[in-house]
Structure formats: C-alpha cells, structure tokens
C-alpha cells in the first residue's frame, strides 16, 4: 500500500520537480571476487567468476571476468575434478565434469592472486511437482497445478515464457498472481508485475494448489507458453527475494535500500541449489 503513495508523491513531484546530477565520488569497497552459480541436480555446474566494480561503472557486458581464478568444488567434502573453462554465448564459465546430485552438499572455493579468497556452500532442493498447465489465447490467465510437499518449508520461483516465431521460449513475460487467486486487493491497486515471482509455501504447505497467474499483457501473437517453476533452497530463495526487493524499491524514497543476500564469504554472488521444472503447453 505504501507504494501507492510513493507513486502519488512521485506523480505530484513530476509537475514541479527538477533533477540534477550529483557529482560526488561514490564509495567503493574495493575489488572483490563475485561467484555466481546455481546448481541444478543431474546437471553439470556452471560457475561464472567476475570481479566487482565501482557503482559508477556502467557495464552491460556482464562485468569483467577473472579467467585466471582458481576454482575448486567439493561434494560432501570430497574434491571434485578440476573445472574446465568454457566460452558459452560470449561468457566464460568454469564447468564441472561431474553432475550435481540431490542429497549432497557442495562447497566452492575461489582464489585469485591479489584478491581475498572466497568460499560458499549449499545443498540442492527437491524437484517441484507441477502439472496441468493451461491458458487461453488472447486471455491473460495462466494456470498450473503445484503440489507442495507437507512438513518442510519449501521455496519457489515462477517464470513465464512465450514462444516466438523461432519456436523457442524466447520472450519472458511480466505477470503477477491473479488478484482473486491471491485474494489481495493490493495486487489490483498496485498492479506490480515482474518477470519472476518468489515465494514460500506458508499459505499452501502440503496442499495441491491450482495456481493462477495474470500476465501483464494478454497472450496474443504466440501459440505456446512455458511455465517454469524452480524449487529453491533457503539461500537461493533469499537471493532472489532480495533481488526482487531491491528492484522494487530502487528509488529508496520510502524504504531503506535492500542488500541482496549473498552466501559467498568475503565476496559477492551466490552459490546455491535450484531445481527447475518446466511445463510447455499450447494455448487453448
């Protein structure tokens, strides 16, 4: 609800506001190793090592990679084979030889000459149980069934893709939970859509729920939709949750800035488990 006031304040400000660049030297904590890797069960692990930059640096090229980083991975305390550097889609990744397995704990250590070594660890979550996806052509409602295991606290991320002319899920769609499904007037009032939704199972623990999403724009000019549901560990949940919060409160007008969660000791980034399942279906 507060956001409504932010927008109103901003709207009011538009009529009389002026904006000026502040020429100050923004603070910089110094170069740190950034480790980014989400570990998918039954898949090799892709690790990207970059370095942090001052805030004032404009970088849309994926940040500076550290090719000479020494990266080691351990599975339940046993070191895995050396990771191989691979160039994929213009980025450099350290790729494991072995596939990650559910029920194992993984540790990573990265060292770079002249920089503080970093480390991180996590486990892998169970696969989400999903099915029965459907949507209507020209409509905006997308439905699918999610069965949440009882007992444990489970975390999820949901994304929606549509297929383009190349018959690839190349367009990520903005959406929110259907206001009726979420039973929340704030969804209608704020109409905040995002490309991903992160949640925990507090409201549906142990239940089979027919999830209903509402796409920001109606599903036209496409025949196929892909629902992606990722089960998350607590670390990967906090990572995505805080990213969403940081994006949503970017002006810092009414809230303090959000610090994105990291589980990389002495560095930044994330090394955490994820278990993604996808449902591809044709529009009715």
């Amino acid at each position: 609800m507060k956001r409504i006031f932010v927008y109103t304040l901003l709207l009011a400000g538009v009529f009389s506001s002026c904006e000026k660049r502040v020429n100050i030297s923004l603070p910089y904590e110094g170069d740190r190793i950034v480790v980014n890797s989400l570990i998918q069960p039954d898949s090799v692990m892709y690790v990207r090592i970059t370095r942090s930059v001052p805030v004032s640096v404009y970088d849309d090229s994926g940040f500076e990679e550290i090719p000479n980083a020494a990266v080691t991975l351990e599975e339940n305390g046993t070191m895995l084979a050396s990771l191989k550097q691979q160039r994929i889609l213009g980025r450099t990744y350290f790729v494991s030889t072995e596939k990650a397995m559910r029920g194992r704990k993984y540790d990573i250590r990265v060292s770079v000459p002249g920089m503080t070594p970093v480390s991180g660890s996590d486990t892998l979550p169970c696969a989400p149980i999903i099915g029965n996806a459907s949507a209507q052509r020209g409509g905006s409602r997308i439905q699918f069934m999610l069965t949440d295991p009882p007992g444990s606290t489970d975390y999820y991320r949901i994304r929606v893709f549509t297929y383009g002319p190349t018959h690839q899920p190349d367009t990520i769609r903005q959406f929110q939970l259907d206001p009726t499904f979420n039973n929340n007037i704030e969804d209608v009032l704020s109409s905040y859509n995002n490309t991903f939704l992160v949640m925990q199972d507090t409201r549906f623990n142990g239940k089979q729920v027919n999830f209903v999403l509402e796409a920001k724009d109606p599903l036209i000019d496409t025949d196929q939709v892909m629902i992606e549901v990722s089960a998350l560990t607590y670390d990967s949940y906090r990572y995505f949750k805080t990213i969403a919060s940081q994006q949503r409160t970017a002006t810092g007008l009414i809230t303090e800035p959000i610090r994105v969660f990291t589980n990389i000791n002495a560095g930044y980034g994330i090394f955490a488990g994820i278990n993604t399942k996808r449902l591809v279906f044709t529009l009715e």
Partner: protein
C-alpha cells in the same frame, strides 16, 4: 411505640422546623443595595424573609459597604457573595443565622482571565502581586488561583498583546473573579499568543515552547496557507522530514513518538497532503505548546514530544468571522454568542479547491471522467457557562484527504483490447475527533477539568473495475477495499490545586480504550472462476486499555530553589497481558544572580503503541499496533540542563539547553522493503532496538516591538542500534541533522504593512549509497531459457555511509491590511524558496543508458513558489 408511630414522629420532627421557620438555603431572595453597609443587607433579609442574624458587634464588622443586585437568587448564593469576601462565616442555628469572623492571615483570589472583547479565556496569563512580589499564571483553561497575604489589595494581570490591568480586589476574604483584559490599543486585533507572559527564568518548566500564534500567521505562507506544523519545524530541537514533507522529529525522536493533543484529545495523523499542511486551520488555534522534554507528569504515552493544541472557544459577546482564499484552499470561520456571556459557538470549514477548478474546465468534455484530489476539515465548538464555577465545552472535528478517480467507458484499441465499462478508484484518510469537557471550580484553590473524548483515524482505499476483454469475451467485475481504522475512546479528570503560592499541585487520572483494526482487506471478482488460494484474515483486531494516574507539584523549595516533582503511573492491558510503568518526572530551577535561571530535568516516558513505518516520513498508510509479548512497550529517559533569562522587560528571551535521551524497545522492519509483510505476524518481522540522542539548543526570541521573531540553533546527534541491522552496529537516525539554524522575523512596517521572513539552514541527513556493483545470475545453465544473466546488483554496505547536501531556504511574505468600517481585509503575498534553492527531496542511483553512465541523481520538488492570499474579517 410501633414502627409506624416512630416514622410519623420522625417525619414531623423533620418537617416542623421547615414549616415554622419558613426559609432554607434554597429560598429565593431579592436584595438590591448600592454602596451600603453589610448591616443593611442583613436588615433587608430579616424584614422581608424573616431571617434573623445573631453576631457580636465587637467581633463581626458589618459596617463594610457592599453593592449587590440579586433578583430571586438562592439565599445561599447571596450570603456567599456578601459575606465571603469579608471572611465572615454564616451558620444556621435554629431559625437564626450566626455570623462569625474567619480568623485567617491569607486570602485566595481565583477565577478566570479572559479577553474583554470576546470572552475568550487566556491561558498563560500572569497574576502578580507587586507588593508581595509573588505571582502565578492561568492554566490552559484560563483559570488561576492565587493565595496571598490577607491585606493584599492590588493585583497586576497581564498577557502578551493586552493592556496590563492593575486591579484592586475588594474585601479581605477569598474571591472568585473574572478578569477582563482589554486588547492592547495599538493593535486592531489581538491574536492570542499563548506565549506565557511569565518570564522564562520564573518557570521551572524547561524544554517547552509556547508557539506564538501571531508568528504562525505572520510567517511566510506556503501556497497561501499559514501552518502550525511548519512553524513548529522552525523551532530548535525540531526538524522535518524531506524538503516539503511534514513530520516532526523532536530531539532525535521519530514522528510516532509525538503526542499531538487537540483540546486534550489525541490525534493519530496531524496532517493533510502527506504532511505539507497541518490538519487544522491555523486561525482556530488559541494556543500551541510544544514540550520537547521535561514532560510534566500530566503528560504520557509518547516518548519524544507533546504538542498541546487548544482551540478557540468562540466569542461570548459579538458575532464575527473571517474568510480567506489562497492558492490551495479556501476557508471560513464564524463565531459568536448563542446567548450573550453564557453560550458561544465557533464553526469553521476549509477545503482545497484546485480539483474543482480542474473539473470545471475538463468535465465539459463528454466522457472525460473525473478527478478529485482534495482535503477538507470542519470544526465546531460550543461553550456554555452554567455558573461562575461551571462551564462545559462540546467540540467536534472531522478532516479528510481524498483522491477519487472515475474513468469513463473506453473502447481501447491497445494491445490488450480491453474495454473498460466502469472504473472508479478512491483513496482517503482522515480523523474524526469529538470531545466534551467540563470545567468546575470546587473552591478558591481547587479546579478540575473532566474530559470525555473520541478520536478515530481511518484510511480507506477502494476500487471498482468492470471491463471486457474483447478477444476472449472475458468479463472482469472487480471490487475491493483496503482499510485501517484506529480509535481511542477515553475519559480523564485533571485537578489543579493551588494551596499556597509555594505549591501548584496537579493530579488526575485517565482511562483510554484503544481499538486497532489495521489492514482490513476484501476483494471480489464477481465473474472470476478462480478459487482463492486461501481466505486468511490478514488484519488485526485488537483492543487495549490504557490507564493513568499522575500527580505533580510545582514547588518553591527555597528562596531561590524551585522544583517540579511528579510521578506518572500507567498501565496497559492488551490480549490478556498487563504492562505497567512508573515514570518519575523531576524539574529543578535555581535562580542565579542577575536573574539567570539554571534549570535541570529528568523524565521517564513510556509508549505502549508502536507505528509500523520504516522511513520516518509519516504516511497515511502507517499502522498503529499495540505492544506484544515479543515487542514490549517503548520507554525513554531524558535528562536536560539549561540556562534561561529575559531582559528588557521581556523584550528578549534567551534559553540554552542540553539534553541526552535514550530510547528503548523501538522497532525496525527486518525486511526494509516490506515485500512479504504479514500484518498478523508483524512482531516477528521487526527487530527491537535502542536509540540515543543528545545535543544542545539555543533560542533567542524578540517578543516585543515592531520587529519580533527568533533565532534558533540546534546541534544534535541521534543514533540507533538494532540487532540484525547494519551488522548490529550503531548507525545514525535517518533524520539526524548535525546543525540546524532558523531565523524568523516579522516586522511591522506601518499601520497597514507587515513583512516577514524565515531562513532555514540544516546540514544533510544520512543516506545509504551502494559500495559496489556486481553481476547476478538467473539460472543454472547458460543454455536455459531467459539466459543466465540477470543484470547488475548494487551492493549496500554500512547503513548511512553518506550525507546528503546541506539544505537552506529563504521564505518571505508581506501582508497588507486595511481596516474598513465593519470589516477588515488583508492581502498576503508570500514567496517560498525565494532564491530557488534545489534542496533534495530524494536521491537515487541513475543509470543513463544513452550516455552509458551511472551516477547519483538528486530530485528536488519545491522550487520558488509564490502565492497570494486574500482574507477578510468581519
């Protein structure tokens, strides 16, 4: 003797004297004498009504001359009027009235001090005995009680803006009087200033500022509105939020720690337009006292400040009113007697009007919908005097801010292909306050005020949307509402007992019921086949009961040593739990040579309710919640010390104060974004911490002469520490300003012209800037749909690692006033931010994709703003 016989005999014994004697205390008598000895009054009563007097001529002096005009008055009242001033006691013995002289070395003069022209009671007026060099002041209801030597005959009554009155009060006994002070001749109209006439060095109370309402009205206006809250922000020890926004931060405390009282009733949200304006029309205010510390025991319930606003009671003698129109709002006030000198009323209304202009222009286009953005407030008060000892007040306030949008049916050709058939949106918030007060004088030394009040704050947002998606024929018929309601219902009784000039004792009790219903939400889409995930109740419905007893004594301990000693005890019952607190209050004053006063104070304050807000800027959506098992009541301790003095017959007033305040059990959200906030579990989503603030304040006021105003300077530090925030380390408060300087001036150029200026300077507030940027990740494999990249992330390190730029601003105003035969008109021309200083409203990190740069950007919203106000008084 049977029982019936006994009863009959008893009845006869009781009735016989009445029948035989023929008079009692209620007998109506008529006595009219002018300058005649008391003896004559006795003779009239004896001759006309058969009332016999018995007394010793040596002991009871009936030669004193009196004047009395009483037609069919009760005998008791007539006797009291003629004998009490001369210390003659009258007692009934059989059919006789026995007169005796009361042996007493003192007399007590009590009563009210009021405006001679309007009958408006004057709080803070001074009563002074020049011969004894002792004095007192009226309380907030204009009542005083002054006990002095029996032979004291002359008393000096004074008040800012009024001619001092040296009044000889006849008789040698206690007297209940009403003193009428004539407005100063040089002024065409007196604005009750409520700044105590008492010299600051003669008040034990420190850390209190009586806001001169004349200054509120003289100050440069923002968009044509004089405003109390903005004037309060110009006092040392007080700062606002962001430029142009409201909020009072008193001595490092947050806005939720301020107790705002309107005629004794608590107010939840004291602002319109996001804090730009106070919820009250400044013309209605009789007095405003700000307590920043050294809180008297009669106040409690908040940690950092008390803003005690008293509204005008209404003119008892004549009808008059005023009307004004500025750039934003128009207002009208009317007051006058319902029955002259007995009953008065005051009624006022104010509404912002730009939306009316907008709709008048644009609504002429068919199908253009409507937009209403406005605030309004209405005030009504009735004041009735039953007797010299009893008066009653009924007051009512209602104010709201509203945004209403109605969209006309559309046939969109946009990509969505959605046809809106009906769309309405409303968001509104406001206060409703009602109170009944009864002032009663029990005797020369005891006064009481009984208040029953109701205060409610409501926030509501509603939406209705009916639309059809053309492509699918899908019909949406949504309606929903979100709202919060907080209300207080309570009663209190306050006594003011002044046994001797060395003691001014106040005591009382209060009971206040709180009802919190924040976060109520319901939503329905009539045509939706979708089944809700759950029907969880996301709102709170809690009741609490707060009870208070207090006592304080303003005590002259020695010749140069004074103390205000008090104790405030309170309890709070909520959800079966009981919290309580004993809050000692101590104020000390020692008179130094050359009329300097050295003051000190210690106060302990408790607050049982918390506000869920994470930014320090009051918003209408803010929610009040009671303490829980996990989040205990807040409490603070404050010590203050200072020097004070007035010079040149109170022309100049100087005060210097230092303070240290600790605050405990404050709350801070653990998720500052509140993106997943569950109201029903709010206490699990906040961290409980402490705060400290300390600093010094200097205030130099010029109160008399053609030029008035003040210079205030504040040096302050305010910090916080919350587990889990900033790694558990201490960090500055969001509105911690190291230096704050205010210069306020009003100058009377001539009979018709008055000039005012206000210059404000404050050092920057803390700001959290990121300390690095780094790459993020989106998926497990670069081959995944959507790719693996998720752009950059800004890394935030230590909280508040930067300070915003200093802010400063000059506002000026000039008022032209012309007195006509029956009315008076005035024009005010004000300029806010004369030199168009770009003070920051907020900062953000801007990514400029075209220039391929990232930099800090400052947004300012309050440029130079001229305004004009026209007003008439009749």
């Amino acid at each position: 003797m049977s029982l019936a016989t006994k009863l009959l005999t008893g009845l006869l014994v009781l009735l016989l004297p009445l029948k035989v004697l023929g008079w009692d205390w209620q007998t109506r008598v008529t006595v009219v004498v002018k300058d005649q000895p008391l003896q004559v009054v006795c003779e009239i009563l004896e001759k006309t009504y058969g009332i016999h007097f018995s007394y010793s001529r040596e002991l009871v002096n009936l030669s004193r001359k009196v004047t009395i005009t009483a037609y069919r008055q009760r005998l008791k009242n007539v006797l009291e009027e003629v004998f009490t001033p001369y210390d003659i006691r009258y007692t009934r013995v059989g059919d006789q009235l026995v007169l005796q002289t009361i042996v007493c070395s003192t007399r007590t003069i009590s009563g009210y001090v009021q405006d001679a022209a309007t009958g408006e009671k004057l709080p803070g007026a001074t009563i002074y005995s020049p011969s004894l060099r002792q004095g007192t002041t009226t309380n907030q209801y204009g009542y005083f009680s002054f006990t002095s030597a029996k032979d004291t005959g002359a008393y000096l009554f004074s008040y800012v803006g009024y001619e001092p009155l040296l009044q000889h009060i006849s008789g040698i006994g206690n007297r209940l009087v009403t003193i009428n002070l004539p407005p100063a001749g040089s002024l065409q109209e007196v604005v009750i200033s409520a700044s105590d006439e008492t010299k600051i060095q003669n008040q034990t109370q420190m850390s209190k500022i009586g806001l001169p309402l004349s200054m509120v009205q003289a100050m440069p206006k923002l968009l044509g509105e004089a405003d109390v809250m903005r004037t309060l922000q110009a006092l040392p020890g007080v700062s606002g939020s962001m430029d142009g926004a409201g909020g009072l931060h008193v001595r490092g405390g947050s806005p939720d720690q301020n107790l705002v009282l309107m005629d004794g009733s608590p107010v939840f949200n004291f602002s319109h337009f996001f804090g730009i304006y106070s919820l009250l029309n400044a013309d209605l205010i009789k007095s405003t006292d700000l307590y920043k510390g050294a809180f008297p025991a009669r106040f409690g319930g908040r940690l950092s400040s008390v803003v005690d606003v008293s509204l005008k009671d209404g003119d008892m003698k004549n009808y008059h009113g005023d009307a004004a129109i500025g750039m934003i709002s128009a207002k009208i006030n009317v007051e006058g007697p319902i029955k002259k000198d007995k009953t008065s009323f005051i009624i006022s209304g104010r509404r912002s009007y730009p939306d009316l202009v907008y709709n008048a222009i644009f609504k002429s286009t068919p199908g253009s919908g409507s937009l209403y953005v406005y605030f309004y407030d209405v005030n009504a008060k009735v004041n009735h005097i039953f007797s010299p000892k009893d008066r009653i007040f009924f007051s009512f306030y209602k104010g709201e801010d509203n945004l209403r949008i109605k969209q006309s049916p559309t046939d969109s050709s946009s990509q969505s292909g959605m046809k809106v058939e009906n769309s309405k949106f409303r968001i509104g918030w406001g206060n409703t306050i009602g109170a009944v007060r009864w002032n009663h004088i029990y005797g020369p030394k005891l006064f009481s005020n009984v208040t029953v009040n109701y205060s409610e704050y409501v926030f509501t947002s509603e939406i209705w949307l009916k639309s059809v998606t053309k492509r699918t024929g899908e019909i949406t018929d949504q309606s929903g509402r979100y709202g919060s309601r907080m209300k207080d219902i309570g009663g209190k009784i306050d006594f003011d007992y002044r046994p001797t000039p060395r003691h001014g004792i106040r005591f009382g009790a209060a009971l206040m019921g709180h009802h919190f219903r924040p976060g109520r939400s319901d939503y329905e889409d009539k045509n939706s086949p979708v089944k809700p995930l759950d029907t969880l109740n996301t709102s709170i419905d809690t009741r609490g009961l707060e009870m208070t007893v207090y006592a304080e004594d303003d005590w002259q301990v020695g010749r140069n040593f004074y103390a205000n000693v008090g104790l405030h005890a309170s309890g709070f019952v909520v959800d079966g739990r009981f919290y309580y607190s004993l809050q000692p209050r101590l104020g000390l004053r020692y008179m130094l040579p050359d009329n300097w006063a050295l003051k000190g104070a210690y106060t302990h304050m408790n607050q049982y309710i918390h506000m869920l807000s994470n930014n320090g800027m009051p918003l209408p959506t803010d929610i009040w919640v009671p303490s829980t098992q996990r989040v205990a009541p807040m409490f603070s301790q404050q010590v203050a010390a200072g020097l004070a003095k007035t010079v040149k017959d109170m022309t100049y007033e100087f005060s210097l104060e230092g303070y240290f305040k600790s605050m405990s059990n404050m709350i801070e959200p653990t998720d500052p974004g509140l993106t997943n906030f569950e109201l029903t579990k709010w206490d699990e989503q906040v961290t409980v911490g402490k705060g400290w603030s300390y600093g010094g304040e200097i205030l130099l006021k010029k109160q008399k002469g053609k030029t008035t105003g003040w210079v205030g300077y504040t040096l302050a530090w305010s910090t916080r520490r919350f587990p889990g925030v900033n790694n558990g380390n201490i960090f500055p408060y969001k509105y911690d300003r190291r230096h704050d300087l205010e210069v306020i001036l009003a100058h009377k150029l001539s009979k018709n012209w008055e000039l005012s200026a206000a210059w404000h300077f404050a050092t920057g507030t803390p700001l959290t800037l990121p300390v690095a940027s780094y790459h993020s990740v989106n998926g497990a494999s670069p081959w995944d749909p959507g790719g693996i990249d998720n752009g950059g992330i800004d890394r935030y390190g230590t909280r508040y690692n930067y300070r915003t730029q200093n802010v400063h601003r000059l506002d000026v105003g000039i008022t032209y006033t012309k007195q006509k035969k029956w009315w008076r008109k005035s024009w005010n021309f004000s300029i806010y931010n004369v030199y168009n200083q770009s003070n920051p409203f907020f900062y953000y990190l801007k990514t400029d994709d075209e220039a391929r740069q990232r930099y800090l950007s400052k947004v300012s919203i309050m440029p130079i703003l001229p305004s004009i106000t026209y007003s008439v008084k009749f």
